[in-house]
């Protein structure tokens, strides 16, 4: 095991948690990500591989699916795999082995910061932040949109739990934007 110590996207040793009104905003650091993009002619093999990895049908556009490893759709013939970091630090290697050269797999664990919003009444917060139609944004939905000028993935885990993945080097700005939105809603 190497000797370097990781920090979170907000720069702390432990992830930050904020509580305001009914909403909890928590920074998450314990996740691994790998992007999977099918090669020419490799769509079917790639979807089969993702199915084996996630143990669930491959998510279509705007969707997320999976058990321990989950996948969400990021673009035509492209998906992102997500799993707990502790158990899946080598998610990238695992996916590379599984796709057997039919897809390009890219390590993305450190490319993104993640903030989870939990609580009743998330719509009021999200409507201040982005153009997603919250009335039909339900568990299993995942999409990319612009929040505070940052391209972010927004994943609906349950009606009271939303994850936002943003570019890691803008974690501070994104966190600030989320906090302001929560405070203005409640």
């Amino acid at each position: 095991m190497h000797r370097l110590k990781a920090i979170t996207a907000l720069g702390g040793t432990e992830p930050r948690v904020d509580q305001h009104g009914p909403i909890t905003l928590s920074e998450k650091s314990g996740f691994a990500l790998a992007s999977v993009a099918a090669r020419v002619g490799g769509t079917k093999a790639t979807t089969m591989a993702i199915k084996r990895l996630t143990g669930a049908p491959v998510p279509g556009p705007g969707q997320t699916n999976g058990t321990k490893i989950t996948a969400f759709w990021t673009g035509p013939d492209q998906w992102m795999l997500e799993a707990p970091y502790n158990s899946h630090e080598k998610l990238f290697e695992q996916a590379t082995a599984e796709v057997k050269g039919k897809a390009s797999v890219t390590e993305q664990s450190d490319g993104w910061c993640r903030f989870d919003l939990q609580g009743e009444g998330l719509s009021a917060v999200m409507e201040r932040l982005c153009a997603i139609n919250m009335h039909n944004f339900e568990a299993g939905h995942a999409t990319r949109t612009s929040i505070e000028h940052l391209g972010c993935f927004v994943i609906c885990r349950t009606k009271t739990h939303i994850s936002i993945l943003g570019p890691r080097s803008s974690a501070g700005s994104l966190h600030h934007g989320l906090l302001i939105a929560i405070r203005s809603a409640y």
Partner: protein, 330 residues
């Protein structure tokens, strides 16, 4: 990040110079042109595997270059096997530069990797392990002109990595250097940056006219052939030194042939980037001069009526320090 079975073919279209035969484990300087032949961005691309390139851009252009490459991929060559994704955020990358750079890295990079000049020469690149097993990437590239490496670790370890490097470098008197120092060193080397890639300059202006390959189809190669962009007296990137070493060579000044009237009709070019060179102990600058490459040794008049400068400077090569690149290859 550019992957896929035909990613080399794709990069051959994106860069005006050849990329098809770049060996695995090697990095190459690449110049991207806009379709109108004007220089858009430059950087290096390293080939980590037959089907895997790491493309670097100027920091401020990362988003627009990805947009440009996506346009080429989806709209121009939709059936090439190439996949693009930004990995800018995923890696924390440090330049380790100076005569002791290798010695410093030997203390950080895991010992099974051969860091010797033979084992990992100038322009090499590789996946490596550092600090007892952490995945990392190493590129032997140099914007500063020194013996230099760029080492990348997953972003979450970036903070720990710079502490590690500073500690390991203590015995070599390592210091952090920022863009100000880098700006001086790249001018001493005559390396173009944003001031030179100003949206009107071509490969020819940059002194890289021969890099534009005529043997392949690349974006911008055809329109860079237009007569106005290839004229005899085209601007060329050169260096300037003051005749009186006490004088500065400020950026934004214009250049006049000795004896000519000082007006727009006789304008010979302009200074793009300037600094005080600690190596040469005087101010130096780079900039564009009409037929500049054929005028080395000429004394010309530098004028900046806006800021009150008017004195003579000598036209020299833009490579002020180590023109043979011996330091890079040491």
């Amino acid at each position: 990040m550019c992957k896929g079975l035909t990613s080399a073919t794709f990069l051959n279209k994106i860069y005006c110079n050849a990329f098809g035969k770049l060996a695995v484990g090697k990095t190459r300087y690449g110049l991207m042109l806009r379709e109108d032949g004007i220089a858009m961005d430059d950087g290096t691309a390293g080939r980590l595997a037959e089907d895997h390139f790491v493309v670097t851009t100027t920091t401020a252009n990362a988003a627009s270059v990805l947009r440009h490459m996506e346009f080429a991929r989806q709209c121009l060559w939709p059936d090439l096997d190439v996949q693009l994704i930004s990995t800018t955020e995923a890696w924390a990358q440090y330049a380790v530069a100076g005569p002791n750079a290798r010695k410093l890295l030997e203390k950080v990079v895991d010992p099974e990797f051969d860091l010797s000049n033979e084992g990992f020469p100038f322009m090499a690149c590789s996946n490596i392990k550092v600090c007892g097993g952490l995945r990392a990437r190493l590129f032997r590239i140099s914007f500063s002109g020194e013996l230099a490496y760029e080492i990348a670790v997953p972003t979450r370890y970036g903070d720990a990595m710079i502490r590690e490097l500073m500690q390991a470098g203590e015995e070599f008197e390592v210091v952090p250097y920022g863009t100000e120092a880098l700006g001086v060193m790249r001018i001493e080397k005559g390396h173009a940056a944003g001031n030179e890639l100003n949206g009107t300059t071509t490969a020819l202006n940059l002194g890289m006219g021969k890099m534009v390959s005529k043997k392949k189809d690349s974006i911008g190669s055809i329109l860079s052939e237009r007569e106005g962009l290839k004229s005899e007296d085209a601007l060329k990137l050169v260096g300037f030194k003051p005749v009186d070493p006490k004088n500065p060579v400020p950026a934004g000044s214009h250049l006049m042939t000795l004896g000519d009237p000082v007006d727009a009709a006789h304008d010979q070019g302009y200074v793009t980037s300037a600094c005080y060179s600690p190596s040469l102990k005087c101010s130096i600058a780079i900039g564009y001069l009409k037929s500049g490459d054929a005028r080395k040794g000429e004394i010309i008049r530098l004028v900046s009526p806006l800021t009150g400068f008017d004195h003579n400077v000598e036209v020299v090569s833009a490579h002020f320090v180590d023109p043979e690149g011996e330091r890079l290859r040491a």
